[in-house]
């Protein structure tokens, strides 16, 4: 058992840097190969190098769930699965791991905690709310990475079983509404917090800018984004501000 634990711990550590060489050719592939390598060290000489090379092929998914593919592919190599089956397994995992991770983390856990933190800061909690965000977020983050690697290593080519884990299904069902409620509540509180130093005319102007910008994002979301519109309006405000002494 201890003989397996050390390579798994090493693979987990390397998974934190899985996107270190992110690129448009293999995406996360090289990082996946680096993370998988400790789990392949006890393979025979003839199997080790081809397995390492396969591990570094194209791969793309959510970074927190990559461990599932790393563990599953390494287990399949140990079980003597044919190379083309391992390649197919990796290909098959890209889409589901990407969409599951995006739904659970980028559209759930992260905005939920960010919304709660925004509301807490607006209500006067200060830096403690930010520290709590970091701690709570990373409890979920590290737990998910560790679970993914262990589940992949346990199930091997039958890793799809892990994707139907009831906790994942329940988390997916709960995080969406919780995130929507938390960010919805945070927005007016944040608006009040940010507009507190403004005079009344500036608050009216702020409401108008926010409403028109929101309409712009809803109607022309394909062309407009926050950065472009902010820069354009800031440039306009600068010109007016220099003229209007």
């Amino acid at each position: 058992m201890a003989a397996v634990k050390r390579p798994l711990a090493l693979a987990l550590l390397r998974l934190f840097a899985v996107q270190g060489s992110y690129n448009y050719e293999r995406m996360l592939g090289v990082g996946v190969g680096v993370a998988e390598e400790p789990l392949l060290r006890d393979l025979d000489d003839g199997k080790y190098r081809p397995a390492v090379a396969r591990g570094a092929h194209f791969f793309n998914s959510h970074p927190y769930l990559v461990g599932l593919a790393v563990g599953a592919a390494a287990r399949a190599e140990h079980d003597g699965a044919p190379p083309d089956q391992i390649e197919r397994l990796r290909e098959a995992l890209c889409g589901p791991l990407g969409s599951l991770g995006d739904r659970l983390i980028w559209a759930g856990w992260l905005p939920l905690l960010s919304g709660l933190t925004l509301a807490a800061v607006a209500l006067g909690a200060g830096w403690i709310a930010v520290a709590a965000f970091l701690v709570v977020y990373n409890i979920g983050h590290v737990a998910l990475r560790w679970w993914a690697l262990k589940a992949g290593w346990t199930h091997g080519t039958r890793v799809s079983v892990a994707l139907h884990h009831p906790v994942l299904q329940k988390a997916g069902a709960l995080l969406g509404p919780a995130m929507a409620f938390a960010v919805g509540a945070a927005l007016p509180l944040t608006a009040a917090y940010l507009s507190a130093p403004f005079e009344s005319w500036a608050r009216v102007a702020l409401s108008i800018v926010a409403a028109l910008s929101f309409l712009g994002f809803r109607l022309r979301g394909d062309r407009l984004n926050g950065l472009r519109l902010s820069l354009a309006l800031a440039a306009l405000a600068l010109v007016v501000g220099v003229i209007w002494q």
């Binding site: 934190f16 996107q19 090289v30 390492v52 990407g98 980028w106 994002f217 950065l227 309006l233 405000a237």
Partner: protein, 228 residues
């Protein structure tokens, strides 16, 4: 903005950690503007300014869903530069100038991320034969090279932002009227609030979560009125 050398070094180091955290290592969300801004504020002994600018850029961050190889601005080091700018100018002028410096830095940071990915692609393409041989040391070398390039990139973006912060006050502070400074702050804060709302609605969609969003919004409005 004139800061002691040790504070400047601390800001560059922090901005570099923040920039690396965004994609490369370890993605623990110190790259979120709220965290990046608060710590930058703490370094400067001005946490309230860090929190305020952190919130502005956190709202803009809602506009971004980092899926696939999508391109996006980098608001982490941008928030560090924004806080450094705002710390040097009091009140609403600081908020407006800080946000402007942060936006330009965020744009620059996004461009460097795209450039880095192209450079990584070329290096990995050139190393294809060694990678296909299954040589683990070649694999690790290519990967660690990518990490180091990202650290260098993040440091360059932070320094770029701090140079802008240094230039902002003498270049714009003198010519901008008080009303102009307020307008600048209004423009950025208004757009950030709109980006936060529109970005959240994109995540929420038209399904049952929309009702939860509406309920949260109503609760937030009620709490805001009650607390006034």
């Amino acid at each position: 903005m004139i800061l002691p050398l040790e504070l400047l070094i601390a800001l560059v180091v922090w901005g570099t950690f923040v920039g690396v955290d965004l994609v490369s290592l370890p993605q623990m969300m110190i790259a979120r503007p709220l965290v990046a801004g608060t710590v930058a504020g703490a370094i400067l002994g001005d946490i309230p300014t860090g929190l305020k600018l952190g919130i502005v850029f956190e709202l803009l961050q809602y506009d971004i869903l980092p899926v696939g190889a999508v391109r996006y601005p980098e608001y982490g080091p941008a928030t560090v530069a924004a806080v450094a700018t705002a710390h040097a100018s009091a009140g609403v002028l600081g908020l407006g100038l800080g946000a402007l410096v942060g936006l330009v830095t965020g744009l620059f940071g996004g461009l460097t991320i795209n450039l880095l990915r192209r450079v990584n692609s070329r290096i990995i393409h050139n190393a294809a034969a060694r990678l296909e041989s299954g040589d683990p040391s070649a694999l690790v070398r290519v990967h660690v090279g990518g990490l180091l390039r990202d650290a260098l990139r993040a440091a360059v973006v932070t320094v770029f932002g701090l140079v802008l912060a240094w230039l902002a006050r003498p270049l714009l502070g003198g010519v901008l009227s008080v009303r102009g400074a307020v307008l600048l702050a209004v423009a950025v804060v208004g757009t950030a609030l709109a980006a936060g709302a529109a970005g959240t609605l994109r995540l929420v969609g038209r399904g049952p979560n929309l009702a939860w969003f509406a309920a949260g919004l109503a609760g937030g409005i009620a709490a805001t009125i009650w607390l006034r």
